[in-house]
């Protein structure tokens, strides 16, 4: 039954998402063209002031548009969650012959999948902009890459290896934390207040965010207090790398813990505290 629910969740989000994906691709093409134009004009020493203003504005808009894309994915998933669970549709959803756990898991998986897909599309878009915008981008990259790799080999140490390993887990934990917190806020919002579900949800989320950044501050002050990111150099990073690794590890655990906690509280509410209408 999970597969069936997942199919419908995925379809609903995809139907709205692919349009935005296409739009961002279009924006990327435009952005690439604008970038190329700017570069060509600069190299040809053309002095058309108006053109530069418009081109930069255009490029700026493209970048903003691209940044909004992941946000659109988040909003679509949240809308799906809210509508499917806590609007009148909930009367149908929660009387289906499907386990509550499956219903929730499907929503989480959908959110995660579309976050990953959105990032992937974004990376492709940025690549498009660079390829179109910079003449001979590939050759430039081919030249740059060995240089970067050499630098990297110089400063490499075990803690960096650990960082690289931990980092994807950190991302995953962070994503899952966000997803489960958003979902939990909607659930609690609808349990507490029948009329102002969304407002209550927002309020709870703000509260949790503040609490979280507080905890984060405490953790960072213990671990990376002597790593001031504003004035970091490679050498400082290399010698104090272990602390940064610990910081990353603790953050991963923190996010992961919050994600799991939020998940189970949410599940409990969905199973036992449901109160539609």
């Amino acid at each position: 039954m999970f597969n069936k629910i997942f199919k419908y969740d995925f379809k609903f989000v995809f139907r709205l998402w692919w349009i935005y994906a296409l739009i961002t691709a279009g924006l990327a093409l435009i952005g690439g063209a604008l970038l190329r134009g700017i570069i060509e004009f600069i190299t040809a020493n053309i002095d058309n002031f108006l053109f530069y203003i418009l081109a930069f504005l255009g490029f700026f808009t493209v970048i903003i548009g691209l940044c909004c894309f992941p946000l659109a994915a988040v909003i679509i998933c949240l809308v799906r969650y809210y509508k499917n669970f806590y609007s009148d549709e909930g009367y149908l959803t929660f009387t289906l012959p499907v386990k509550r756990t499956s219903l929730l898991n499907s929503k989480i998986l959908t959110f995660l999948l579309f976050e990953i897909m959105s990032v992937a599309v974004l990376i492709i878009d940025i690549y498009l902009i660079l390829v179109i915008g910079i003449k001979g981008f590939h050759t430039e990259l081919a030249n740059l890459l060995p240089m970067l790799l050499d630098e990297l080999k110089e400063i490499w140490n075990p803690s960096l290896t650990a960082d690289v390993i931990i980092f994807p887990f950190l991302l995953l934990a962070s994503a899952l934390m966000g997803i489960n917190l958003y979902y939990l806020c909607f659930t609690v919002g609808s349990v507490i207040s029948k009329r102002y579900k969304v407002l209550a949800a927002l309020g709870i989320y703000l509260g949790v965010s503040v609490a979280m950044s507080f905890i984060q501050q405490i953790i960072s002050s213990f671990t990376i207090s002597n790593l001031m990111f504003t004035s970091i150099t490679y050498t400082e990073f290399a010698t104090n790398g272990a602390e940064f690794t610990i910081y990353l590890g603790l953050m991963t655990l923190l996010y992961g813990g919050i994600a799991i906690g939020a998940y189970f509280i949410n599940l409990h509410c969905i199973k036992n505290k449901l109160n539609l209408s």
Partner: protein, 234 residues
């Protein structure tokens, strides 16, 4: 074997006690009216059987199983409000029901839509409110469920539609299934009932029995009897 059993059922909302020590045993193959004034706990009971609400204490058994996905599979529930997703087309809704409910009869649903001249390709949001309610009723009645729960199916509906709804219930009547109808519009519904239960506040069972025998026993319709019994109830 009873299709539905409630034992020592209690439901509180905070300090308010909606259902108090309710014990009910419902046999298979009957059309039963759950009748009572507004706020007496009819809808609450129905929602608990569907799993939408959790009892404060007590047990509910449907066909010998506890409430869960297995019981949802044999219960066909018609809530008071429309739960349809307006972006869907009617045919999408039919596919959805076919997907999740093994006992959904696609042909029957299509035929009922045809009788009402509803185009399956039309989007739900383009249909009138009354038509959407009828589509929802068709979805519920096209299932071969063991227990049908119809919560106020004819409230807020015009007389012609009311007749249609009652006819649909009779037409899709399955002698092995039980239909529980909650309503406070007794006059329209009493002729299709086998049995009835008068529910007072706190879910108290004030009276119950065969709907037709009431006329012989009291010389009154169920509607008239109801007015008498609940005359002083606030």
């Amino acid at each position: 074997m009873s299709i539905l059993e409630c034992r020592s059922l209690y439901k509180n909302y905070g300090n308010k006690r909606v259902l108090e020590n309710m014990n009910i045993s419902v046999p298979a193959g009957k059309i039963i009216g759950l009748l009572g004034p507004n706020g007496c706990g009819k809808s609450t009971l129905i929602k608990m059987i569907c799993g939408l609400l959790v009892p404060s204490s007590g047990e509910i058994w449907v066909d010998g199983m506890p409430i869960g996905p297995q019981t949802n599979g044999i219960i066909s529930y018609l809530p008071e409000r429309t739960y349809l997703s307006n972006g869907m087309k009617v045919i999408d809704l039919i596919d959805y029901f076919c997907d999740f409910y093994r006992d959904f009869d696609r042909k029957r649903a299509m035929k009922m839509l045809q009788d009402l001249m509803i185009d399956p390709a039309s989007r739900l949001r383009t249909l009138s409110k009354g038509t959407r309610e009828k589509v929802q009723l068709i979805m519920v009645m096209a299932r071969n469920a063991k227990l049908y729960l119809l919560d106020e199916p004819i409230a807020g509906v015009d007389p012609a539609s009311r007749d249609y709804i009652l006819q649909t219930i009779l037409q899709n009547y399955n002698p092995e299934a039980t239909v529980i109808i909650t309503t406070h519009l007794i006059h329209d519904i009493e002729r299709i009932l086998d049995e009835f239960v008068f529910l007072g506040f706190g879910g108290e069972i004030v009276m119950g029995g065969n709907a037709d025998d009431i006329r012989g026993q009291y010389g009154k319709t169920l509607d008239e009897l109801f007015r008498e019994v609940f005359k002083y109830v606030q």
